[in-house]
Subunit: 252 residues, 2 copies
DNA sequence: CGACCGCTTGATCATAATCAAATTTTGTGG
DNA sequence: CCACAAAATTTGATTATGATCAAGCGGTCG
């Protein structure tokens, strides 16, 4: 399954820490990432500032809360979660990011990361220094526009999550998350109804404002109703319509 | 038709009702709004694109969900709430905005407003056409940076609300909201412990993911404990420390 | 191998939702 | 400005959802 994420470039590029000409322009995920907004010559400018990181292991951090905000990041391969620490020491998961998705925009406001980002599985991450991106943004209007869009997307996503947490039951929240993951898998060419969940039950519950026990019970319930089949990390959506019905056809 | 403003009249509206071209540079709220990032000559450029609206009445909309996204807005006077309609026809309040605060950035991603914005009391709103702002952003780096910050702030705020909804009890949510309002009042030179709430109980509950009844009960409880005194719209914070204690000293 | 971790399931409890009704405030037309 | 209707708020009684407490299972990794 993850072989579908295989890099379009040989492994030696993965271990190259600095910009690789050709990487963004040939990246299969470009349409989800930043370069979509750019013309060929502008992509070259962008590439000159992008750092393609070597693979990082499950549990490795990309950045930590309270660190200086320097870059935003794109998931090239794998998946990442972001989370923050509440004042009473509990963790709050604030987002899951899959291949092609951009994260790390918290910190734009204050210059300090408000969350930590950690790989949920072996992943490869592109880092894009934000200062350089700002400089480029003033030179390339379509890049500036795309940056605004990325930030705007994050806002839209967050507001949907707020609505979900504020208005929906445990079952509805789970169903909405699964539909979201399904769509996002589809968008990068993976099966929309056969998903390997990179996150733990506890992460899911945390993200959705539920306890692990509740998550587990909801999953069992959905399985009994033959809406999904779930075996450890492997989620199969058996009845997409039923899942949509559970969410009240929300657009989360 | 007069629920909308500014944009029905194009350029001549600039030297309008309050007839003051020097508006941004003399605005008491500038430090909270956009101009703080700018040099004098840049403020003039900004002012040339800002539309200062005439006062709007309670209940008037600034924009509605699904309308084309054209401008972002700053509250000059009064207060505004934003909300969206869930697919099952319920309202979800997504934000309260007071004088000096900027709203309307939902819509940056899709070009369509994802929320509606309505005045909670008689208000005056400045509209700033986003396209012009983008153009200026490429000319004035500090403006671009400030735009990023505004969007980033919205993200940070939303993530705090997510955490609040996900982790905190009814009492904690109310206390956190009151502290936030208190700080924001203070920031614009109003009393931090004597606040006129522009929003209804129902709006508060909606925003915090609680029913009206729960909000009412929490208020009664806090009043009995002499942490606050609340008389209709008039909130007095009697014991700021107790309020902070209720929130577990969260930084919401 | 064994301790630990993640997950599941069961029993009980607590918080906030829901249902219901009284009361206050607000808005409107005369 | 008043009277009345409508809307908002408060309070109470009951219920339901999900949290908490508890226990057991299965896999993993040192």
């Amino acid at each position: 399954m993850n072989s579908k994420f295989a890099s379009d470039k040989p492994a030696d590029n993965l271990s190259c820490h600095h910009g690789n000409r050709g990487s963004c322009s040939t990246c299969r995920l470009a349409e989800l990432c930043i370069p979509i907004a750019l013309k060929i010559e502008d992509i070259n400018k962008l590439e000159s500032i992008v750092h393609r990181g070597r693979p990082i292991k499950k549990g490795d951090h990309i950045y930590r809360e309270d660190e200086e905000f320097k870059s935003i990041y794109a998931v090239r391969l794998g998946s990442v979660k972001t989370y923050l620490m509440t004042n009473d020491g509990r963790e709050q998961v604030t987002g899951f990011y899959m291949a092609g998705e951009v994260f790390g925009m918290d910190g734009v406001a204050s210059g300090i990361h408000e969350t930590s980002a950690v790989a949920m599985e072996t992943s490869a991450i592109c880092a894009i220094p934000f200062e350089r991106l700002e400089e480029l943004g003033t030179l390339i209007p379509s890049l500036q526009r795309h940056m605004f869009k990325l930030l705007g997307q994050e806002i839209t996503e967050d507001q949907k999550l707020i609505t979900l947490l504020s208005k929906n039951s445990a079952d509805e929240r789970l169903a909405a998350l699964f539909l979201s993951l399904s769509q996002r898998c589809k968008a990068i060419g993976l099966s929309p109804d056969n998903i390997i969940l990179p996150m733990s039950r506890s992460d899911i519950g945390n993200y959705l404002g539920l306890t692990v026990e509740t998550v587990s019970r909801v999953l069992s319930r959905m399985q009994k109703k033959e809406v999904i089949r779930i075996d450890n990390k492997e989620l199969s959506i058996l009845d997409m319509d039923a899942l949509r019905a559970i969410t009240n056809y929300s657009d989360y």
